[in-house]
Symmetry: C2
Subunit: 306 residues, 2 copies
Amino acid sequence: MNQIELFCPATIANVSCGFDVLGLALDSVGDRMVIRKTAEKGVRITKIVGQTLPLDTHKNVAGVAALALLSKTDSAFGFEIEIYKNIKPGSGIGSSAASSAGAVFGINELLGRPFSNHDLIAFAMEGERLASGVAHADNVAPALLGGVTLVRSTAPLDVLKIHTPSELYATVIHPQIEVKTSDAREILRSAVPLKTAIQQWGNVGGLISGLYTEDYDLIGRSLEDHIVEPIRSILIPAYNAVKETSLKSGALGAGISGSGPSIFALSKGMEVAEKVGDSIKKVYDKVGIDYDVHVSKINTEGMKIL
Amino acid sequence: MNQIELFCPATIANVSCGFDVLGLALDSVGDRMVIRKTAEKGVRITKIVGQTLPLDTHKNVAGVAALALLSKTDSAFGFEIEIYKNIKPGSGIGSSAASSAGAVFGINELLGRPFSNHDLIAFAMEGERLASGVAHADNVAPALLGGVTLVRSTAPLDVLKIHTPSELYATVIHPQIEVKTSDAREILRSAVPLKTAIQQWGNVGGLISGLYTEDYDLIGRSLEDHIVEPIRSILIPAYNAVKETSLKSGALGAGISGSGPSIFALSKGMEVAEKVGDSIKKVYDKVGIDYDVHVSKINTEGMKIL
């Protein structure tokens, strides 16, 4: 195999209660990537379509992640990467993670899989470090493993794939304003009340339990965030109205996707997820900011070879 | 039925990472309780054997919990309660919870079960309020439901029973010093670093996931507590030595039981749990404080009618 073409999924990090630990992969939104072996060693980004992003390997998240992988192998050849971006940078649905994870996944395939998908997470995190200053795993983990993932620990890295109920769907609205992950991190407080932290880990426990037992009501009750949402939601126009209409339309719960500005809702079944999407559109049509709405099954595979 | 005799299990609250939310029930340690209908209305504590505790209904946790239940019913008769204490108050393995939960469980049986075991939790919590000043559910929930329980939320009360792997055993050492729950609460900080809170909810997610998937290694890796253990362990003689020898003897993990001074370890299989117990005894024989060591399967039933 000299060339590989990939679907690199968008992802929702945090999932309300699970700040910095939970994430899930989407099915209907993602980038396309073509990676090809070259006689010349090293990594070159040869084409980026759909967004203006740096072609310089060391300034591109896919390039940096690819180099992190190659530094641990003895490859006799190099790679060139073409990226067809559908996920807008700064959208909060894992644009940098899709590119970082796609690069390491594709190169690993072309090398004959010296690494497991779990191993690849650490390399892809180097792309995240370039994008946001923090080598977080909550987007690259679901992009690589699929489904819902839990980063139990970052040092040592310990990532789990959690059971995903088959009727779980996500609705995502991306308002076309940019919130930089680094800015969204800066406004967070460095300490939290113990009482609030207890609520949060109660909800993480409830959500994980709801996923394993396919208890959709419990999943909904656990989609609470008392720590990050009150602060970050201020940056997102009509956040409360979107959340409210989602719940009224039957969503199990709703919250900020990653560091925003995208807002996600989870629903049982496609029909409800689409109804939620329609109700969100109605709210945002009045706001006067351009937006995209995506409805997607949870993607339990992660990266897909096209 | 005019009389009921019960085994009221000891419980381990917090379970390392799950401060104020997780708990589990023991099988080989617990109180015995006899409850009987009386023509005279109200609740009387007629006998307490094994410990010096108040017989005044309003000053006894079992009495207060029983009254909380009766205030929501229209019982034509009253109840007298005999308590045979094996769980020492202040031991950190749910002494007050066993009495509170036993009283409401037994009375509910004698009334023909107007309430579910889930309903009973709120009544039993009133006993905990008397004992520690806080109506916490992390001991009464496992005492009533059995197995491992998660208090997702206290307001509204939302308690879940989590799957318990069949080979999970606990070893508990109770050093014969008293740590009052109220004192152990006071020394905790009211705010925690966000970074540490993230580690904690990562571990709660990992532990719950490990319980559902019966992944004993994951259960062990998740038994970490970066918030309460560093502070409360100072109150417990030879805490680090006990934890260290438990892990060396094959325990999956170890931590403080409730607010201490008891220390628990979880193991896969009875044989390892007993080996852990022996190694802890060796450590404590040198400390020069009296102690009890218990080895117990996790009790998945909760209260047992004798």
